[in-house]
Subunit: 192 residues, 2 copies
Amino acid sequence: MRDRILAAAAIDFADRGYAGTSIGLIAERAATGKGQVQYHFSAKSDIALELVRSSFSRAPFANVIDDGPTVRGMEAIVASIRGVAGAFRDDVSVRAAVRLVREYHLIPVALPTPYLGWVARIGMLLREAEAAGEIPTGLDHDLEAWHLVAYFSGVQEVSNRLTDRDDLPERIEEMLARALPALGVVHPERFL
Amino acid sequence: MRDRILAAAAIDFADRGYAGTSIGLIAERAATGKGQVQYHFSAKSDIALELVRSSFSRAPFANVIDDGPTVRGMEAIVASIRGVAGAFRDDVSVRAAVRLVREYHLIPVALPTPYLGWVARIGMLLREAEAAGEIPTGLDHDLEAWHLVAYFSGVQEVSNRLTDRDDLPERIEEMLARALPALGVVHPERFL
């Protein structure tokens, strides 16, 4: 029941935002009563918090290596960026989490800060890429990671606003084709 | 009085968003009565619409050449990006407009679509840059303009969220130092 409530809440938060979603609406979509929702969650903000936490801790955002031992360095960065883009399109919980995080000023609990975990992860992968000779030495890995995450965020935002993310996969490939050479990646076509 | 109401509304919309702002609040900040506000604007959404329209039509967003005849091509692109970044930090009406445009789903009037005008303007300036030999020939100018605007949008968004735009000027210079060489700008340091 708890998972059913979270799945129902994700749909409403993604579509209507925090203010437009009520416990009653979530209960209705989960085909249960408000009492059941309130038994599992003390407030609407608790549901929002749990959705954001679980989305942010999941790959490919997470600051852990979870793509298996064979994917490292630049290959893992490209996989992570493509993976996050796919999750934005295909995973309603991620869409809900992203929208909730942007509406944080409406939500009376402290949500996890976005971006930081992903920046840290990509910074770590850039260190691997340097060790593997995939990028020039001497880059500021955390700064380059910040810029990759910022560029990605803008691409998904503009794509979302202008095409409802229809063109996101193609825009992401265009982004990678620009960002990897800008990083000085050696033979970037290997990773694209 | 109309301008005083708009200036007051900009502060509240920028700080509290559309839902958190009321006609009463705007009237109080403008040191007038609700009747005066309602005399000038038929609804809260009309005030929002006028703020967005006037911000979007102003330089450096606008799809017009208004930097004077001496600034063209790549120099005008850099000036436009720096100018928009400055406006995000220093102009409360622009901050209000940007926030309102992101909250468009809450506002019962059709707001102008963001990004498109600025993409069109930068595309035009890239054509000038090509004619002046500042960038390689054969680029898709509208596509490159889309990516400059998207990258900018992400930079301002992440900077806003993590530092309240404190680090925006420095992040924008870092962005330009990455984006201009990626465009193939000849001697990018001329423009930075």
